[in-house]
Amino acid sequence: MAVNKDLDIKVEYVTRVEGHGNIVVNVKNGKIEKSEFHVVESPRLFEGMLRGRSVFEAQHITSRICGICSCGHSLASIEAAEDALGVTPSAQTIKLRKLLLDYEFLDSHILHVYLLAAPDILGVPSFVPLIKTHNAVVRRALRMKKACNDVCDILVGRHVHPISAIAGGFTKLPRPKDLDAQIKLLEDLGEDMAETLKLAATLKFPDFHRETEYVALVSDDGDYPLLTGEIGSTDGKRFKKKDYRKATNEFVDPRSSAKFTKLSRESYFVGALARFNLNYDKLHPEAKKVAVALGFKPVCHNPYLNTVAQVIEIVHCYHHALEILRDLKKNGVDYSQELVVGVNEKGAIPVRAGDGVGAVEVPRGILFHNYETDAKGLIKQANCIIPTNQNINNIEHDFAKLLPEIITRSKEEITLALEMLVRAYDPCISCSTHYLNVTFVD
C-alpha cells in the first residue's frame, strides 16, 4: 500500500523494560528513513573494571551488571572462571546450578509476563491501575514473584546478587529443612500456576511474522539445555562454547557506533522463543501439554509470542525445579563439598593462566562471559556479550518489516505497537554494557 505519510516517533526511555532505551522512527512520504532502537544507558565499563581483579571476584562483580539477571550473570561468570582455571564442577554442583537457573527463569518470566507485558495487553499504562481493576491478578503476580524470590533466598542467600554460588561450587549447601521449605513454597504455587495458564490463554497478541534465525544452547542429552550444551541455530549452525565469537560475529554498523551481531543472515533472535523453537522436544511434558493447549508450535516466527514462550518456560522450570529438589531430598546432599574460597588466599583452588568461556541461557537469551587470566588468577581481559545486545539488530529488522504493515494507523497506535514489540523481547538494557548508541535524531 502506497501511503504518502510523514511520521516522526521518538520514544525516550521505553518504560517497563529493564534499563533505558529509545525508539526512533522517521518516515517521509511513506518511505522509512529511520527505524532504530537505541540503548542509552550510561556506560558502566564493567569489562574494563574487571582488569586486575581476581577471577574469584568476577562472579560478585559481574552479578552487579544486572539486578534481574544477577543469577544468570553469576553462572556465566562462574563457568568462564572455571574454564580459565581448568576446574570441573561436580555433578551435585551442576544440579544445584540448574536449579538456580530454573528459579531465575521463573522469577524473571513472571515479572515480565505479569508486570511488564500484561498491562499492554489489558490496555493500561502499568500494573498500578490493575491494583483496582484486577486486584486478584496483581496479588497473584506479587505472591508468585515473592515465592520465586524466597526459594532463591533459601538456595543462594538472595535472588538479587546471589551469595553462595561461586567459582568452584557453593559456600553453603541446602540442609534437608531448606529443601523441604523450597518444595513447599513451589507446591503452594500450584494453584497460582494454574491461574496463570488460564490468564495466558486469554491474552491476544498482534499478528506479525518475520522469518529469522533463532540461536540458543542445544545439546544431545535429554535435558532442555539452559546451562550445558553447545551453541546452535535454526539455520543448522553449531559451535562449541569456546568458539562463541563465530556465532556472534560482532560488527559495527556504519550508521551508528553500536556493535551488532549476526550469524547466517542479517540478524538473529535469542530468548525464550529461540529456545522454544530449537528445543521444543526437550521441554517438560507438562510444559508441552500447555503449548499444545495454547496451540503454540515450533517454529514460530512472531516475536510478540516470545511472551507465550516465556509462559511455557515458566511451566517447564517449575516442574524441572521440583524434580531436582525431590531428587536431592531422596539422594541427599554431600556437605563435604561446601567451599571457603574468598579471593583464594589459602589456595583452595589451584590457579593457572587461562582463557575461559561461559555460555549460559538466561531469561532473555544466551549470555557469554569470557575471561583471560594470568598465572596469579588476575583478569587480564574480559568480554561479555549480552542477550539484549544480540537482539537489537533483530528488533530493528522487525521494525523495518512491521512499519509498512501498520503505517496507515495513527501515530499513537504505531508507537504502542513498536513499544510492545520492544517489550516482547523483554530487553535488559542494564545488561548492555557492551553496546551503546548515542546517535540521536530529532
Partner: protein, 258 residues
C-alpha cells in the same frame, strides 16, 4: 477502595535510576503483597522500570538509585533535587558509588578505549560519584543490594520527617550475634571489621565474605584492624584492593569533593 479521594493527600513518591543494575528497585517488587500496603500509604507517581505514568509536579520523596557517571546524569539529578522535598540515596551505587567506583582506578580515556575501541569518545563518562557528592541527600539506604527491612524503616522516617541513623558499628557485631564462625578463622579475609552493619551479616550467614558494600564505618577500630591483618599475616594491600571494589569513591569525600 477510596483511592481516588485519598490520592490528593498521599505523599507523592518517585523512583529514578542512574548508572546501576536496577536490582535495588527490584527489591521493592520482591516485597510481595506487603508492597500493596506500602502502595496504600503512598502515591507512586513515577517508576520507569514498572510504570509508563509520568508526573510533572513536585515530589514529596524522590528515591534515587545508581551513581552519577556522565554529564547528562549530573544535570538530571540536579533537576530532580530541585523538584523534591526529600531525597533518598538508595543502594550502594547511589550512597557510596559502589562497584561503579572501580572505574575511578583507571584513566578515563584508557578504560573507555578498552571497552569501546577507537570510537570511545562517543561514550560520555566522567569519574563515578555517589549522589551526595553532587546534590544534598536527606536519607541513605545502604547495601548492594539494599536490605528490604531497612528500606521500610527509612521510608517510615522519611514520610514522617523523622531522622534515620544508619548503624555505625561493624558487620562483625551482627555476625557474632548470628553465631557465624569468623571468616578469618576459616582462612580467608573479610571486610566485616571495616564495614557498616545493618545487613544482618547477610553474606557471611551464607558462607561468603563481606565485600564492604555498605561503606566504611566512621571510626574504624584501626588498632584492632591492624591486629587482624597482623594475626592472619595479610598484606594491607590485599585489604585495600578488596575495599576499592565498593568504596573507591570515598576519595571524593576525603578530598572534599562535592
Amino acid at each position: 477502595m477510596t483511592n481516588a479521594s485519598k490520592t490528593a493527600t498521599k505523599p507523592k513518591v518517585a523512583f529514578f535510576d542512574f548508572a546501576c543494575c536496577e536490582g535495588c528497585q527490584l527489591q521493592v517488587a520482591n516485597l510481595g503483597e506487603s508492597l500493596l500496603d506500602i502502595l496504600g500509604a503512598i502515591d507512586v507517581v513515577e517508576f520507569r522500570e514498572v510504570m509508563s505514568e509520568k508526573w510533572d509536579k513536585d515530589y514529596d520523596v524522590a528515591i534515587i538509585e545508581g551513581s552519577i557517571t556522565d554529564h547528562h546524569a549530573e544535570e538530571r539529578i540536579k533537576k530532580i533535587r530541585a523538584r523534591s522535598r526529600v531525597l533518598i540515596a538508595y543502594g550502594a551505587c547511589a550512597c557510596i558509588g559502589g562497584v561503579n567506583g572501580m572505574k575511578n582506578s583507571f584513566e578515563l580515556d584508557e578504560i573507555r578505549r578498552c571497552v569501546y575501541g577507537k570510537d570511545f569518545k562517543l561514550f560520555d563518562s566522567v569519574k563515578t560519584r555517589p549522589v551526595h557528592q553532587v546534590v544534598k541527600v536527606d536519607y541513605f539506604v545502604n547495601g548492594c543490594p539494599i536490605y528490604p527491612p531497612e528500606l521500610v524503616e527509612v521510608l517510615k522516617c522519611a514520610l514522617r520527617g523523622l531522622p534515620y541513623t544508619v548503624p555505625d558499628n561493624p558487620v562483625c557485631v551482627e555476625c557474632k550475634l548470628n553465631e557465624n564462625v569468623c571468616m578469618y578463622d576459616r582462612g580467608v579475609s573479610c571486610l566485616g571489621p571495616w564495614t557498616k552493619a545493618g545487613c544482618n551479616s547477610w553474606c557471611v550467614n551464607n558462607g561468603n565474605i563481606c565485600y564492604g558494600c555498605r561503606g566504611e564505618v566512621k571510626n574504624p577500630a584501626k588498632n584492632a584492624a591492624s591486629d587482624v591483618i597482623g594475626k592472619y599475616k595479610l598484606s594491607a594491600g590485599l585489604i585495600k584492593n578488596k575495599f576499592e571494589m565498593y568504596n573507591k569513591c570515598k576519595e571524593g569525600d576525603i578530598n572534599g569533593g562535592k
